[in-house]
Symmetry: C2
Subunit: 427 residues, 2 copies
């Protein structure tokens, strides 16, 4: 039976899960995959952490060179995170001819071409299933399951923290600030939640997934990004009234005009399959020209679910020697010609506070009309809050720039106290 | 660029879709997959059908020998269906060293070991993604995406016709018979709907999927099967009242006691992700020891979705030469030792008609209790229908055999007019 040696760089949450899965399933993989996968080295400064996981002392390496010079190591798993030493170590491993498996979305999304070149130069594999949507095999699906399709659209709930917060907000658990605090107490949100709540994490993942779906590198800089921090209780109430759920969606589309990629809070119809993806669950909804609609749903994070994706890559690398999986076929050079669309089409939910006087509706719809925006729904209610009333519009599909211009114009009106919210809508 | 020749056996719905996808995407695959895939032969008696699809006359073969002796043909796609000529042709192709891609669930499930042996003997590939759940890459996911896991459970809505009928029944569209007729008119159900409504189609798929998930051949004969024809409007009403949806589920479980596989109508909680899989959509919900819960959702049938799965296999076979994918690692010999569980655990919904007199509830619960069955919910209502009343019980988890015995006992009671329905419950 073929023997394959693995090194794990970093024994944090995911590294620990990976170590546990690999050691506990060794016999199982020998039986079902016909390969004997042994952990031959770990790199972890905190030796107590290593011992607590049951790592034998003799396989704890002191530095990266000990790992990459170890002939028993065939595959290096990087689960350190970030783009500092992680990048150096991954390049070291690739340059030593080791295949690399990583969960590091930031690294892949920011240094894709560099890593890919290093992998190809050294005939090493580069696998990163665990970088997107935890245990859900979304990357394998794009590369090996839906590859017969022109993918025209993908919409994903790819961040568990924000989905947890939004689910609580939708079920009446409180304001954004209150639920964020509670989520932090539960350990589901970081002390500094910026990467999650401002959509950075989702942007990294979208950059990777869109690159694979659309067969060209989609740089992070092309991803429009907007977080969930400005969603008000009024937007939650209106969503329910209008039959929507609010989700932070990562949306990628490919049309004849080019590729559009954006992460933002979205109103999505309550009967859409993504609308019932709740709590910390993730899902990606993909549309292809042959397969039509497909959705993958599962745990987007966690030691064992993410470990499942890492070990899946390890087994894949061990049993599909021929496949290096580095990625799409384009070169950095060819990718330079890719077109991106920023003035995308969408429907919009627009909430504003206006002076309670005659003719306001006509005035506002007049402005929308001037920018070619057609209105699908309006909610106007009298409220006992001084002399302003809330007005809510849901537009038909229109252009992003038209809406931005119309909103600028609305803000200039004396009788419009405030344009409180602009949220994109998927119907 | 590598050139790969494909032959298509049968130009029915799926064969036509496959031909269309392959010819229309040829350039796209050359660009994205670095392989030039050409349809080199088709085998179809109805030449007019072939011409209507735009098939050039010179590639229409007269017989299977013309196809398998054609050196330009590397991969043979079988979409004839059934286990007659399809089996012969697939064996002919494998014996000629051609890799085979098939959508034929009945063939794979009934002749797996024979086909696998032929494939191995001739170093040919055998791929059958399209045999289960149409365009959804469920087989690739089990083999290459979740292979790090002990799969403990899978529950699937794997038949579109029955899911369409049950969705209509749940939304008040009429009785089973009425909706079946309507479904037949729409062309979503066959004139003879037996294969679908009696659960045969789902059993074939479960046999295949459970074999892959549990790493041993699960013969069709081990699959418990029950169709949807006996579901009464009263069961639909009760489901709604109790917060359930009725689905025809294909369930596979692996425990220390062995493997259990069963296809039957199921009450499933309305907030379970499978409950909102409606109309002709399919989905499979998988639980693994590392990944936790994963669900794949999509089109289970149709020319292009199923064609997407076939072409995915064609590309996979063309670009992963090393991987033959024949299947699991066990031999027919080793599979003989596999244990199966028939006395499985489940909760149950039991509806009966009883004489409207004092003490009935005590009598019935006494019988349940005698067989160790504990009751979770009871619905008893007075109705103006002579002197019988309906009584509905939902049990806690118990044993299949206990319920069968208790039901036999209940049927013997003079005051129980009828045990109308016994439906298994997933909570």
């Amino acid at each position: 039976m073929k023997k394959v040696g693995v090194a794990i760089l970093g024994l944090g949450v995911v590294g620990g899960g990976t170590y546990q899965i690999l050691t506990q399933h060794r016999e199982f993989y020998a039986k079902t995959q016909n390969v004997d996968i042994a952990v031959e080295a770990v790199l972890e400064r905190n030796r107590d952490r290593a011992f607590s996981l049951g790592v034998p002392e003799e396989i704890i390496a002191s530095n990266i060179y000990e790992v990459i010079s170890n002939p028993a190591v065939d595959i290096v798993v990087e689960v350190i995170g970030g783009v500092g030493v992680a990048r150096e170590f991954v390049l070291d491993a690739l340059n030593a001819g080791k295949s690399v498996v990583t969960s590091n979305k930031e690294l892949i999304c920011k240094y894709w071409h560099e890593l890919e070149r290093a992998a190809k130069r050294n005939n090493a594999g580069l696998f990163f299933e665990a970088s997107c949507v935890g245990g859900v095999p979304i990357i394998r699906t794009l590369l090996d399951g839906l590859q017969a399709n022109h993918i025209t659209s993908m919409m994903g709930i790819v961040n568990g923290t924000t989905n947890y917060i939004l689910t609580k907000m939708m079920s009446g658990g409180g304001s954004y600030e209150e639920i964020l605090k509670e989520t932090q107490k539960l350990g589901y949100a970081e002390a500094d939640p910026t990467a999650d709540v401002e959509g950075f994490d989702a942007s990294y993942k979208l950059s990777i997934l869109a690159s694979l779906a659309f067969h060209t590198k989609v740089p992070l800089s092309k991803v429009y990004r907007e977080g969930i921090t400005k969603i008000a209780p009024e937007d939650i109430i209106a969503a329910k009234e209008l039959g929507y759920v609010i989700k932070l969606l990562a949306i990628g589309k490919q049309t004849e005009q080019g590729i559009e990629v954006r992460v933002h809070p979205t109103y999505i119809k309550a009967d859409h399959p993504l609308a019932s993806v709740n709590d910390s669950f993730n899902a990606v909804y993909i549309t292809g020209d042959a397969v039509e609609d497909v959705m993958l749903y599962g745990r987007g994070a966690g030691a064992l679910p993410t470990g499942s994706a890492i070990v899946s890559d390890v087994i894949y690398a061990a049993t599909h020697k021929e496949v290096k999986y580095a990625t799409f076929k384009n070169t950095a050079e060819a990718d330079k010609g890719t077109k991106f669309v920023t003035n995308f089409r969408s429907a919009y939910y627009i909430r504003m506070s206006v002076t309670d006087k005659a003719g306001m509706l006509a005035k506002i719809t007049g402005i929308f009309s001037k920018y070619g925006i057609s209105i699908g729904e309006v909610i106007q209610k009298r409220r006992a809050e001084g002399d302003t009333v809330p007005l809510i519009f849901v537009t038909h599909d229109t252009q992003e720039l038209s809406v931005r211009r119309a909103v600028e114009k609305l803000k200039e009106c004396d009788d419009i106290t405030k344009v409180d919210s602009v949220i994109r809508v998927v119907s």
